[in-house]
Amino acid sequence: MVLSGSYQNNQFYKPKKRYMQLKIKFCMAMALLLCLFSHAYAQSLRVTGKVTAKASGEPLPGASVSVKGTTIGVTTDVVGNYSLNVPKTGVTIVISFIGMKPIETVVTQAGVLNFALEDNANALSEVVVVGYGTQKITTISGAISTVKSEDIHRLNPVRVEEALQGQASGVSVVQSGSPGSGPTILIRGIPSFSGNEPLVVVDGVFQSTADLNAINPEDIESLNVLKDAATLAIYGLKGGNGVVVVTTKTGRKNQKTQLGFTANYGVQQVANTIGVLNGTEYAAIINEGSVVSGGNVIFPNLAAIGVGTDWQKQIFHTAPMQTYSMNATGGSENVTYYLSAGYLSQGGIVGGMDKSLFDRANFTANLNFQLTPKLKFIVNANDVVLYSKGVQENSFNSIIGAALNFDPTVPVLNTVPNTVGKYGFSNNILSEVYNPLTKLDNTYNYNIGNKLYGKFEFQYDVIKGLKLTSRFGYTKYDDNSKTFTPLVFYGPQNVDNTMAADGSTVTGAHNSVSHQKASNFGYSWESFANYDFTVKKNNHFDVTAGFSLQRSSGNADGASRQDVPYNSWDFADFSAATGVNTATNSAAQTGFYYQYFHRNVSYFGRLNYDYDERYLASFSARRDGSSTFGLNKPFANFYAGSLGWVVSKESFFKSDFVNFLKIRGSYGTSGNDNSSPQYRSISTGGPDYGNPVNSNGYNFDNTFYAGSTLATQANDNLAWEVLKQGNAGFDITFYKNKFSVSADVWKKDVSGLLFTPFQSAYVGTIPPPAANIGTTTSKGIDITLSYNETFSKSFRLGNSFSFTASKNLVTATNLDGSAKIPGGGYFNGQSQNVTLFQKGFTPAYFYGYKTQGLFQTQAEIAAAPTQAGAQPGDIRFADVNGDGKIDASDQTKIGDPFPSFTLGWNLTASYKNVDFGMFTYASVGNDVYRAYERNQTYTNKFRSVLGRWTGPGSTNDATTPRYSFLDPNSNIRVSDRYVEDGSFVKIKNIQLGYTFPSSITKKVFKSVRIFGQVKNVYTFTKYSGYDPEISNGGILEVGIDRGAYPQARTYAFGLDIKL
């Protein structure tokens, strides 16, 4: 605000001088225009009136009333009134308002003209932001999904991706429950085993999905998802995985200041718990396991044990979630603005706010300056402060993992005399799994980040229709984190103790504090021209051409130090810690540093053509250079074309039922440069842990000497991944514009997938260089359907459905197809991998043994294929390859973490002043792998063990084999025993709002609305765990439940005020 004031004084109120200078430069064009204006003004007639919303009858302040084809226009005042001078009779004026269907009318005389705008249900006349420009939605022949600000607002999401889930067809979002954490997001299928994240473009500036944690969803005007080659090719290398175009709010010219305030406060809690054994049940089963294995009874007195401790109850807490947002929108003739400040704080339900939280404060200023009638300057500036704390997640020894697996006979608090430690301990579980409260209590960390992002942009109208844009975008993100690892006492016999029972330090153990600072800076400079012109009345061209330079870079350093005074977080700082490196301890003080950068240069162009908005064609091309490619292939070219036919515009098309019908198709390429530069480097020093793990150096008589080796290989032919995508679809609205359907079928072939090939082991451990060898193919269907109905003036109903389905197949990995990328690692007594990216299968499928019930008798075992160690009651594994024995080659596909299809249903209804919204999301056909069972001898067991095999005929369910301490059959190996159907229907959000009648509030407020909201209301699923929606980051991690952080159920109350 201060900024805009000073600019105004200096520059903006001197239009005449500017005008003259420009006139000299472009005299011809200016003179022509001046003549036109002065001529027109002479015969003007005055029109006045009021603009209202047809449905509610409420006045519409800030609606635009303008003369078509000119720059003449005004906006309505606070009560919806306008006054406009029209150049002459017979001209067309356009009345428009965001979200409403514009009206065009021919003015024949001066006087009063009132307008009632209808809601723009089918959004046909809207303009969509695409790459390097905007396009009228009716003339687009590519595939785009859109989510509007009101749908985002209704959801009140923490992160933007939440609003895409189930609302934008073609986009798959698998959410995570941890506060502020990013979901797995895929646009149209799974092209690769990693690097599938779409590009994010915020107001024309490149960002990544990781940056979406920093955007206040309240600031967003619209989210457009570009999906097909026609819309992506202009992003070339960046566009391969789809693009999420985020457009933030701006003010409008001559708009009176509007202030908005929205607040939301809620409490979150865990929706359900997992069935584990209680104290007595646990003790009984441990006794049984021990006796069956030839050991002693461990708990002789079962009766004394009782139900024991429910550790899940101990770790889950209710946690607050609150959001506040304030904004101001408005504009004068030369300056428009959108200013906002937002604050979000989400506590974690695991461990509560003290240990797990995500806080965000946003400050945004979007300012547009009309410097001269032809020159516009735009500044978007955002500052975001992020603060978070986290707990260990997603493993058997995480907080949740420990709560599920820890000994339930242990009391919450430590009552054993002469031992330190606040919480109870187990004398049976002596390593790995600890009392979750001890673990939680000893978790100390924070991360504080500051992000500054935005753009400076000039737009210059050279002549009518020709606009030059030059834009400098930037993102600066710095963060600073600290972790303290105290000395911990886990129990007198625990082998992982760093503190002894008497509180003394275990010999050789140290507490430590680690600090890290990272600094990242990315910029892009892009200049392009858009030329929009019409030839011979109906041949409309829109040409775009330009170039782009981008650089992202960053560095980080960190230090850690042992021996924090008093073993206390209060003193956990490098400067307070006292550790000094000695000959026997070189880890007392350590540090690290790294840096990176990445550069791109690109040229791009696009031609959009339509004839009478009836026949549509588009062609785009981009040439990209990237600093990540091999020496031989620095540049890549991408092309795409599309065609469309608006059938309903044809004169022969006469239907009262169908209001609009467009058929469209596109084909083209886009790319991906998810790679790093390669070279034959020498690595010097100590062990450098790469993949595969490599190390340098050696010690002579306990003194370490650094060594060196050739550490990398180069592939000078490394190039980009190419995605070829074909798309066919149609858009239709019918039955009085009440129904609209947009459907697409697509097929995507990825080739040259950047893949690290397998190499012969005799090449050694030097990592093989990435090569362009993988291919995948995906095909799918995206459908958006909406139905809106106004039953009377006071009752309105809106429905929108989105349907997303894709089928994916890895068609090649390396040359002989033998290579596979394993993922989904977990530990349940042995390290196992569940997911695999392999030729001939769907990406990241679950890989393991198939079960065929249980062996009931010795005779059955003898008759079955050879299975080492099997006894009656053990799982019978399937001899998939039929070679008469059960071994590693019998492992096969046992599940797929990705759904066959997902469905979103957004229901909105309003009756008079009451509004209702419900969002439901369904995911069908996804499997979950249960990997949270640690299965140590004395760890707690899950309730299914109660139905275990106890003798021939007792059960034949492979999920409940006999129970014993010993497991010579390896019943715990990766098998479909642990695979569950994770299909679900989730009521993600219900909101009920009430807007106070303006008669009550209008003296002070424009509008006041209160609402109640419940998020993650209920999940219909057969899955036995917390939440079948499991994202752990990459696609190889989806659906692996190692005790994943469940999404919280939130009960919230909120307030929206406009003044």
Partner: protein, 501 residues
């Protein structure tokens, strides 16, 4: 006018962009502060630093030691359960398949060592930029490099038989899949050549303990000759080690395996580990500076005031090995630590522990137990214990065997050597071997088991001496003399699999 303006603007922009942008997208490794092959091996220091990393894979081969006993009658795999340490269980039970992560890791580790050695020999005369770098002691340094290459090839040929052979350069992915297995004899020829080359240039004494000496090269060559049944040559190459007087047997057998006993008077070659470096990582558990195999041998959940620290009850000595020791043999208690007996004999230590949950024998490898204070950082991965790879007592036993089996046997000499070892074991001269011929030979072989028990040699000895089928349950003659070639090498590299797998 308008058009002209646009044209000029377009030309200016495009020209400016065209010239600067190609450069903008190109990359030079120096921008990432990376030293590449062309900037390296320019100085003596570069050569010497690189030679140190040829040693590193010695440490990575630590699983070869447990395997050498687990595969034999000396020990069982143990672990938490039948599904714990699966690769070792397979080896223990001879249910071996080509998919065995431990064997695959040993295979690739040995080849990394070979490639590192090859890179140095490839650029011995001239560095990658074509410059000749000369410095004092360069030849002696290369003696270490060729020794290490020989050691790695010997490890491979012992475990896998015929293996791909190359010594001219470090190979890269372009060679992947093109090599075939070379006959064992050719590999041995390379090993002999490398060791002879080492012997001719290495000094008898190295300032830094743990560096390869001439004696180490002679001892290894003697061992290689035994594997080749070249007994005359073996006797000839081993004899100078003994006559040099550089080594002696220590009286207290247990002291050899203590931290203080590392690189002691009996040590001919030890693979060095240390807990002084923060180089440990679960992602590469066997590839740090600490010895991963120590934690494996430990007793589960052991508590009390003894020096023993807890471990994973893997590689448990068998009663069969325990029973092989005669009364009075000080090696028994060290090789086969009977924890229950130890606990009962030392009540003041208040020892409690968990019985090994799987394949419990009650015995633990006392030579390589985790001890308190001998690890740091990631305690499981960072034990300091060196592997006593070649001890003087083995040199004596090898020389005894070579003399006994030579073209012109010298059993008196052989008896002298074996009896030195026995005298130390019993602390007296009352347990001498007086037999000759094949009885003496068997006595020497049996003595090797007692002296070198739980040091990773037993399985290879049994195969070498043709005793495997009679001593090891489950051993199939004609198949189990070698381990299977890792499956990926059959699939990716097209190597022929060993018979029977």
């Amino acid at each position: 006018m308008k058009k002209k303006y646009i044209k000029v603007l377009a030309i200016v922009v495009l020209t400016a962009m065209g010239t600067s942008c190609t450069k903008f997208a190109s990359f030079n490794p120096v921008e990432n502060f990376k030293i590449t092959d062309l900037q390296y091996l320019k100085t003596e220091s570069d050569y010497r630093t690189m030679a140190i990393s040829v040693y590193s894979p010695l440490q990575w081969l630590n699983q070869m030691q447990p395997i050498g006993d687990i595969a034999s009658d000396n020990s069982v795999a143990g672990g938490e359960s039948a599904s714990d340490v699966l690769p070792l269980q397979q080896i223990d039970d001879f249910t071996l398949t080509p998919v065995n992560s431990t064997l695959a890791d040993l295979f690739v580790s040995a080849y990394e060592g070979i490639n590192r050695a090859n890179y140095l020999t490839q650029f011995k005369a001239a560095n990658p930029s074509g410059e000749a770098i000369t410095f004092a002691g360069k030849d002696a340094m290369y003696g270490e490099v060729t020794f290490l290459r020989a050691y790695y090839y010997f490890a491979l040929v012992r475990m896998f038989g015929d293996v791909p052979l190359f010594a001219d350069k470090r190979i890269d992915i372009t060679v992947s899949g093109t090599l075939k297995r070379s006959p064992k004899a050719d590999v041995y020829k390379q090993i002999e050549a490398d060791l002879n080359s080492s012997i001719s240039v290495l000094p008898a004494v190295q300032v830094q303990k743990g560096r390869i000496t001439k004696y180490a090269a002679q001892a290894l060559l003697g061992k290689v000759y035994l594997y080749e049944n070249k007994f005359d040559q073996a006797a000839a190459v081993l004899e100078p080690i003994i006559t040099s007087g550089a080594f002696s047997l220590v009286a207290n057998y247990a002291s050899i395996y203590t931290a203080a006993g590392e690189n002691g008077p009996e040590s001919v070659f030890e693979i060095q580990y240390t807990n002084n470096s923060p180089y440990y990582n679960w992602g590469g558990a066997t590839r740090g500076e600490g010895n991963y195999a120590i934690q494996q041998n430990g007793i589960r959940g052991i508590n009390g005031s003894s020096t023993l620290a807890a471990g994973w009850s893997t590689n448990l000595p068998t009663q069969n090995l325990n029973n092989a020791y005669a009364a009075g043999d000080q090696r028994k208690a060290v090789t086969c630590l009977d924890i229950e007996a130890y606990k009962n004999a030392n009540p003041s230590l208040n020892i409690t522990y968990q019985v090994a949950p799987y394949k419990n024998t009650g015995l633990y490898s006392g030579k390589y137990q985790p001890h308190k204070g001998e690890t740091s950082g990631q305690v499981e991965l960072n034990y300091l214990n060196n592997f006593r790879t070649l001890r003087y007592s083995e040199v004596l036993l090898m020389a005894a065997e070579a003399n006994n089996r030579a073209t012109a046997p010298n059993d008196a000499k052989a008896q002298g050597y074996i009896n030195q070892v026995r005298a130390r074991a019993f602390g007296d001269a009352l347990h001498t071997v007086t037999s000759t011929g094949t009885t003496l030979r068997q006595a020497i072989w049996d003595e090797r088991r007692l002296e070198l028990g739980m040091e990773g040699d037993r399985f290879f000895d049994l195969v070498r001496t043709g005793q495997a089928a009679s001593k090891i349950t489950g051993f199939v003659t004609g198949k189990h003399e070698v381990f299977p070639i890792p499956n990926d090498e059959v699939v990716i590299s097209g190597l022929a699999q060993n018979p029977g797998y």
